[in-house]
């Protein structure tokens, strides 16, 4: 164990942790903005209650995404100074643009949204949440373009041992990025959709039990305060099911494109993902070890069942000839299994959403068992996302920049094992405590449910700004 290993652990742990919150920020933000738009258009109070309810959950989560994101930006320089010096000219540009064009938009307009209910005209206030979620989505584009460059570096030239950007447009329209951005953003919408499915399913179950007096755990007072609202929750559930199903289709299509780029640009990752040892024409795919579907890997990688797919050992031999003696193989079991788990967890979430859409078709009520099964939509897509990042980043090893810079040559030379151990300990303790706090806070607010409205505000009606503000601000402000 040396400083390099710990720095890698720290980057892996903090990045996966950061990305537990990011998808909800991206996807749930759009969902909340959609709810508020629906309220704005129809004036139905259910939409307002849902906006406030999911808005609160969104904000609890948003805080975690922001603060853990700062760690990411600092960590490149702190732990990977050789990498940062080598790539900054190219890789730094999308990060700077992300801050300037996305983070300012996101944070400023979210502040306006949180505190602006009673100070802004309604249309402007609605525009604020859309501007904020636009910022979140733009930020995803820039950071993923930077990440794609590590896998498939383009638009640069190495001069005096440093990468120099020659074409920003090439970096921002890197085909790897154009496949990866919609894939990750769609995954974010699946995670957020799954979150809303789980929360709505939980509320449906809980309110039905309270209504039939079957749940002693729900105090009568609260059951009375928050009367069951099956129509509202069915609506939220249906919305989330639609969002998840559409995002799932995008996910599959862009995943297919990513697999093809992987075959071209990162053959080692693709070979490791299948455990394919030698170059093979008409390569098979094994859903699990021991079962092989003939020609499927060739079909996935090149859309040609007879295509030649490179194998781990042959790539290793070629890389040794090209880059010198070293082990260029990633951790194959991790890459192999994360590929399969990503697909299984991702597809099962999408399958669950399709099933839900069919079960609730044409005004059918939500079956009790499906409301409970909906809870699965919370962990499944998140596990898929984690597996996807493990495939993506561990599969890239031993490179930080494919073909240009090895991970071992990227680490900060002046940062000692003890220092990285200390920071890893700090982040582990802090992140662990905050994860528990966030989970408890979310659960508590989901259990409490939406606040009831005492009067019915009409978003299109004139002169009710103050009444509405008095109603809304206590829950959305500090």
């Amino acid at each position: 164990m040396d400083a390099l290993d710990l720095a890698r652990w720290q980057f892996g742990v903090t990045t996966v942790y950061h990305f537990l919150f990011v998808p909800l920020t991206i996807g749930l933000g759009v969902f909340v903005a959609g709810l508020q738009t629906a309220w704005h258009r129809t004036g139905k109070e259910d939409y307002l209650r849902l906006t406030r309810f999911f808005g609160k959950l969104f904000l609890i989560n948003f805080a975690m995404g922001v603060v853990t994101g700062i760690v990411q930006e600092f960590q490149f320089g702190m732990n990977w100074s050789e990498y940062s010096t080598f790539v900054g000219d190219v890789f730094g540009a999308p990060l700077a643009l992300e801050a300037l064009l996305a983070f300012f938009l996101e944070s400023t307009f979210l502040g306006l949204w949180i505190f602006g209910w009673d100070r802004l005209p309604k249309r402007v206030h609605l525009a604020c949440i859309w501007a904020a979620v636009l910022g979140s989505n733009i930020s995803a584009y820039f950071i993923l373009a930077a990440n794609a460059w590590m896998k498939h570096p383009v638009g640069y030239q190495v001069v005096d041992g440093r990468a120099r950007m020659t074409d920003l447009w090439a970096v921002l329209t890197n085909p790897t990025a154009l496949a990866q951005v919609p894939h990750v953003v769609a995954a974010a919408f699946v995670v957020a959709g799954g979150f809303v499915i789980a929360v709505s399913g939980y509320r449906i179950t809980r309110e039905r039990r309270a209504a039939t007096g079957g749940d002693a755990a729900v105090p009568l007072a609260r059951a009375a305060r928050v009367p069951g609202d099956p129509a509202m929750w069915r609506g939220a559930l249906r919305g989330a099911l639609v969002m998840t199903a559409i995002a799932g289709a995008v996910l599959a299509g862009t995943g297919d494109a990513s697999a093809r780029y992987m075959g071209e640009q990162q053959p080692m990752k693709l070979a490791a993902a299948e455990g394919l040892r030698h170059d093979t024409a008409g390569a098979p795919f094994s859903p699990v070890p021991g079962i092989e579907v003939p020609n499927l890997l060739s079909l996935l990688a090149a859309h040609d069942p007879q295509a030649r797919v490179q194998g781990v050992e042959d790539i290793q031999r070629r890389y040794q000839a090209e880059f010198g003696p070293a082990d260029y193989r990633p951790n194959i079991p991790v890459v192999y299994w994360s590929f399969r788990l990503m697909i299984v967890f991702g597809l099962s979430t999408v399958g669950l959403s399709l099933l839900g859409l069919w079960l609730t078709r044409r005004r059918r009520p939500v079956p009790a068992w499906f409301a409970r099964a909906g809870l699965l939509a919370l962990p499944l897509p998140t596990l898929a996302v984690i597996a996807g990042w493990l495939l993506s980043e561990i599969g890239r090893q031993p490179w930080t920049v494919q073909g240009e810079l090895l991970t071992a040559a990227s680490v900060s030379p002046g940062v000692s094992l003890g220092e990285v151990a200390a920071s890893l300990a700090v982040f582990t303790v802090l992140y662990g405590a905050l994860a528990i706090a966030e989970a408890r806070l979310l659960v508590r607010h989901v259990k409490a449910g939406p606040d009831p409205l005492t009067v019915s505000p009409d978003p299109r009606g004139p002169g009710d700004v103050d009444a509405e503000a008095a109603l809304l601000t206590p829950t959305l402000m500090y």
Partner: protein, 309 residues
């Protein structure tokens, strides 16, 4: 103007914006229990920064991102060189950010925990930034402590004046009195610490020796003195302008001193990215900056009214 010079100024500008804007956020956070009596006043005090603190923090993210893009070797050397202090900065920012965001959504007991996080995270981070740059210039414990004391006391005065400017009632009066009291401590600290910034250039550590950082440091001390006088005359708006100017000028003195070599043995030219990257970022930055500044300013305009309890 040459592109590396321009981008050095951009980075300095972003850090200045960060210290001025989050300076008062830090002050407000650190002074929360000292200036308030009861929950209503605490809410009142935090609401002064509620809509803006997150946007203010993006100035840091942009400053660091601009360093990464424009001066990769500076970014990498500074961040890896101050590894453990920056871990503490990050921990402070994490605790503080989460506490600010969650405070209104928790039970009374947890709220006390959030308040502790806001105070500790704000005070710690405000101290650490000055300590880091003091240590960078001299590498001594004295410079580290003096630098930290300078940034912390400036943030406290700036924050107290901001509360006085943005609130009404007893909180406003208390904040104004506190600001005067803190200024009485901050002034001697500033008189001790501020000359140390340009003096580093003369000390021969490879830093820049130039009259301009001296001028900026002197003006920073002058602005702080003016702030104290304006507080005495109850001119809160002007006092806030003066504390903002003091922080901006102190930052200008710092970056003026760093101009020749932002890190020991590394010149700005050596650290810089190529002309293509700097050029293309210049055009995008110039196109975007008016909008960014515009909507941030608009936020302050929307929330321009004093916050009542």
């Amino acid at each position: 103007m040459e592109l590396t010079t321009f981008w050095f100024l951009v980075v300095a500008f972003l850090w200045t914006g960060y210290f001025v804007l989050e300076g008062f956020d830090f002050g407000v956070g650190a002074l929360l229990p000292l200036l308030t009596r009861g929950e209503a006043e605490r809410k009142q005090m935090l609401e002064t920064i509620g809509p803006v603190w997150d946007g203010n923090e993006v100035w840091l993210i942009t400053a660091v991102g601009a360093m990464f893009a424009a001066f990769p070797a500076w970014y990498a050397g500074l961040l890896s060189g101050f590894y453990l202090p920056l871990v503490m900065v990050l921990a402070g920012l994490i605790v503080r950010g989460v506490a600010l965001e969650w405070r209104g959504k928790v039970t009374a007991r947890e709220r006390a925990l959030c308040d502790a996080g806001i105070v500790a995270g704000s005070a710690l981070t405000a101290f650490l930034w000055g300590a880091i740059f003091g240590n960078l210039l001299y590498g001594t414990a004295v410079a580290t402590v003096l630098g930290g004391a300078l940034s912390l006391t400036l943030a406290l005065v700036h924050g107290a004046v901001f509360v006085a400017l943005k609130t009404t009632g007893p909180l406003r009066a208390r904040a104004r009195r506190a600001a005067s009291g803190i200024a009485a401590v901050a002034l001697p600290v500033a008189v001790l610490a501020l000359p140390g910034i340009p003096a580093a250039g003369a000390a021969g550590g490879g830093w820049t020796a130039h009259p301009l950082p001296w001028l900026a440091a002197g003006a920073a001390a002058g602005a702080l003195t003016a702030a104290a006088a304006l507080l005495w005359r109850r001119r809160e708006g002007w006092a806030f302008t003066a504390t903002a100017a003091s922080i901006a000028l102190a930052t200008a003195a710092l970056f003026g001193t760093l101009w020749r070599a932002p890190l020991p043995g590394l010149t700005v030219a050596e650290a810089a990215s190529g002309p293509y990257t700097l050029g293309v970022l210049t055009w995008i930055g110039l196109a975007a900056l008016p909008f960014v500044l515009g909507y941030q300013a608009w936020t302050y305009w929307v929330f321009r009214k004093r916050v009542t309890a």
